[in-house]
């Protein structure tokens, strides 16, 4: 086989001094040195969670502080890993939200089972369950990984409500009781 000799271009003076390359390298180093840091000092620092993030499922209250869940148990039904367990109960007649009639006596979500699919949020007819920004959940026992009703409301807090469905219903009923339309 014939050998073909490739002619090399001779190096220029600048190339032979190697200084431009060193400076170019130093520029990269410098640029990175002065750029804002992307590393988060987790867990002291926490990332900003986008609005549509599917974190730990939580129960929420409406702005009037009324628990929104009416224990219809649709989330329990739809939950693929059967993580949700609801004990339905009746609201006592003296309660401020007695007009809703029904609320969960106990509401448990087993976070060892939960797969964060968000079907519970999607199915909820009362907009009471939301997968919010909480993403880190740890526990030392299996029991501590089951979120009960108190914990779920603690995690969920209050979210704005565009409907106030039950309160409107109550207002209408009161208006009619006070003299009709």
């Amino acid at each position: 086989m014939a050998i073909k000799v490739v002619e090399r271009r001779p190096l220029t003076l600048a190339e032979r001094t190697y200084l431009p390359q060193i400076l170019a390298g130093l520029k990269v180093t410098w640029d990175n040195m002065v750029r804002p840091s992307v590393t988060l000092q987790y867990p002291e620092e926490r990332p900003t969670i986008p609005k549509n993030y599917r974190g730990v499922p939580t129960l929420v209250m409406d702005p009037n502080g009324r628990e929104k869940c009416v224990s219809c148990q649709l989330c329990e039904f739809v939950c693929p890993p059967k993580a949700i367990r609801i004990t339905p109960g009746e609201i006592s007649e003296n309660a401020t939200n007695a007009h809703v009639e029904k609320a969960p006596k106990e509401f448990e979500i087993n976070m060892l089972r939960c797969i964060y699919c968000g079907l519970c949020q999607e199915v909820c007819p009362e907009e009471a369950i939301f997968l919010q920004s909480q993403y880190s959940l740890t526990g030392l026992t299996r029991e501590s990984m089951v979120n009960n009703k108190v914990k779920l409301y603690e995690l969920g807090g209050t979210l704005p409500d565009g409907h106030h469905k039950w309160d409107k219903k109550k207002e209408e009923a009161e208006k009619q009781a006070g003299g009709g339309h």
Partner: protein
């Protein structure tokens, strides 16, 4: 001399396809039989027709005839159909030969949509908290014929949400669609007319007559037949959504009427008991008292484990002691009409093997002429058929107590009876060695040497023979307490028999049960020939589907 039990058939035409249906049948039922559902709320096959919900509107027609010649008018080689100008309700129509029905036409669809929209005008749409959700006709038909949003701009009518109609029934007036099924049931079936409508138009409201309440023993049937969530069971209210519940066919054990029931359970817990249709026994009804019986399953005094001399023992050890007690000589057995046919047969074999005398206590109460009979046990006929006894049940056990006092009885086996309540006091019981098979602790179990745990009707399977001599089976709905064996297995062990072959043995040796297997019965049971026992005097009076045989 019945040669053909089948009703004569007529041909009707449904959406252009001809079908054979029973002559004279109600159109809703007839169409249901051929798999065509006519949406309806107020119509109920066991109640008089009211025709007020208007949901079952269909278009009807019949072949036209020439008035002069009475011959069919033909059109394009086919009989010309004269369609009625307006839709008619199917529930008030009986099928006639040549009837033409349109179920799928645009007109019929428009009718259903119109009725649905009207019914939803003032409906609260509170399905998330409504117990009927999942078995609600209004919910189902709204999905099919509703428009998905409301055109109604005015305020909805507010009505009372939580009215107490009676001790067991709560009314949510807003959900009521005024179908009047409950009103008709109360007056026609329960013969206790207490319900009615007051006010007019959209203020029309279901209520009890002044000073009355819906407190008869059949009040919960109104909850069953309510097509919406207006009438709710106070006991079942807000307890569990129906789609979680498993349905198990069972039999009401409160009396020998033997009403067919469905037991609704979830994860081993029973939530409610409802009637199951059996046109030969209970139609679609049952008494309220029978629906409470499941609460005994979780009673605090349940016998959960075997005891020997009141000390907890393994079932094996208790059975070994029981064997020893039963062999102590001169055995007497107190059997029960609460036992299933299978258990009674095994007990009969034990009695024969040990040459024991058998006592079956009677439990007699007042009958109501419908579905609670005088004999408050489900299966005395079974004791006769299986040969456990050939005598009428004894009113009390005083004769047995006298025998014990006289030293004629050395050992005693009591199955599913509280002997102490029947004239056999604990002091007498203490004189003999005794084995008790019981579901709940009572004075008798406290005095017995060996107590074997038994299962309730909800925890075991078997069959009963009701007062009509109808053999009906019940299935296990929930598991029993841990480690408790079905009564049949315990009795088989004591009798040295095999519980698995009890039906082949019954089928071979008992003429009344020839060719039958209690595990393979049809859902509505099998009618037995009770002629062999016609000489017995039974306490039952007339019931919904039973009339006592009057001896000449």
């Amino acid at each position: 001399m019945v040669t053909d039990n089948k009703p004569s058939l007529v041909t009707i035409n449904v959406d252009g396809v001809e079908h054979q249906v029973p002559a004279g049948a109600n159109l809703v039922d007839a169409l249901g039989k051929i798999g065509k559902e006519v949406p309806h709320y107020c119509y109920h096959p066991k109640l008089p027709v009211a025709g007020n919900c208007r949901m079952c509107l269909v278009e009807l027609g019949s072949p036209m005839r020439d008035r002069a010649t009475n011959e069919l008018v033909m059109e394009n080689g086919l009989p010309k159909i004269g369609w009625q100008p307006k839709p008619a309700i199917a529930c008030a129509t009986n099928v006639t030969p040549g009837l033409h029905v349109r179920l799928e036409s645009p007109g019929v669809k428009a009718c259903r949509e119109g009725v649905t929209e009207m019914l939803l005008l003032n409906h609260p749409l509170d399905c998330p908290i409504c117990d009927q959700a999942g078995e609600c006709k209004l919910q189902e038909f709204s999905a099919e014929y509703g428009r998905g949003y409301s055109r109604y701009v005015d305020e909805k009518n507010a009505k009372p949400k939580k009215t107490r109609l009676g001790p067991r029934v709560t009314l949510d007036d807003e959900r009521c669609i005024l179908c009047s099924r409950c009103v008709r049931f109360s007056s026609e079936i329960a013969k206790d007319p207490v319900l009615g409508f007051v006010n007019r138009g959209s203020y029309n409201t279901l209520t009890c007559f002044p000073g009355r309440e819906l407190d008869n023993n059949y009040s919960l049937n109104t909850v069953d037949i309510c097509p919406v969530g207006a009438l709710t069971s106070t006991d079942f209210r807000f307890k569990m959504r129906v789609w979680f519940l498993k349905q198990t066919p069972s039999i009401d054990t409160e009396s020998s009427a033997g009403a067919n029931t469905t037991v609704w359970s979830r994860e081993g817990k029973i939530y409610r008991v409802t009637p199951r249709q059996n046109d030969a026994v209970n139609d679609t009804w049952m008494a309220d008292s029978g629906r409470e019986l499941f609460k005994s399953v979780d009673a605090p005094n349940r016998v959960n484990y075997a005891t020997v001399k009141t000390a907890k023992a393994t079932l094996e050890a208790a059975l070994a002691t029981a064997d020893e007690v039963l062999s102590a000589g001169s055995l007497a057995i107190v059997g029960s009409s609460h036992m299933s046919v299978e258990e009674q047969r095994l007990l009969a074999r034990l009695a024969k093997a040990k040459d024991a005398s058998v006592y079956i206590p009677a439990h007699v109460g007042k009958g109501d002429g419908l579905l609670v009979s005088e004999d408050r046990t489900p299966n005395f006929r079974g004791a006769l058929v299986t040969g456990l006894t050939d005598r009428a049940p004894v009113a009390d056990l005083k004769a047995l107590a006298a025998d014990i006092d006289a030293g004629k009885v050395k050992s005693l086996l009591i199955v599913r009876e509280d002997a102490a309540m029947l004239g056999l006091p604990a002091s007498t019981l203490a004189k003999v060695r005794s084995v008790v098979l019981a579901t709940h602790h009572n004075v008798t179990t406290a005095a017995a040497e060996v107590v074997l745990p038994a299962l309730t009707v909800f925890e075991r399977s078997g069959s009963f023979i009701n007062c009509q001599f109808r053999l009906q089976s019940f299935a296990q709905a929930v598991p029993g307490p841990t480690g408790v064996l079905p009564d049949a297995l315990v009795l088989a062990r004591l009798a040295g028999a095999d519980a698995a072959t009890v039906w082949s043995e019954l089928s071979a040796n008992v003429a009344t049960l020839t060719g039958l297997d209690g595990r393979l019965l049809p859902a509505d049971g099998v009618q037995l020939d009770g002629a062999a026992f016609a000489a017995h005097k039974f306490p039952e009076g007339k019931l919904l589907k039973f009339a006592p045989v009057v001896l000449a």
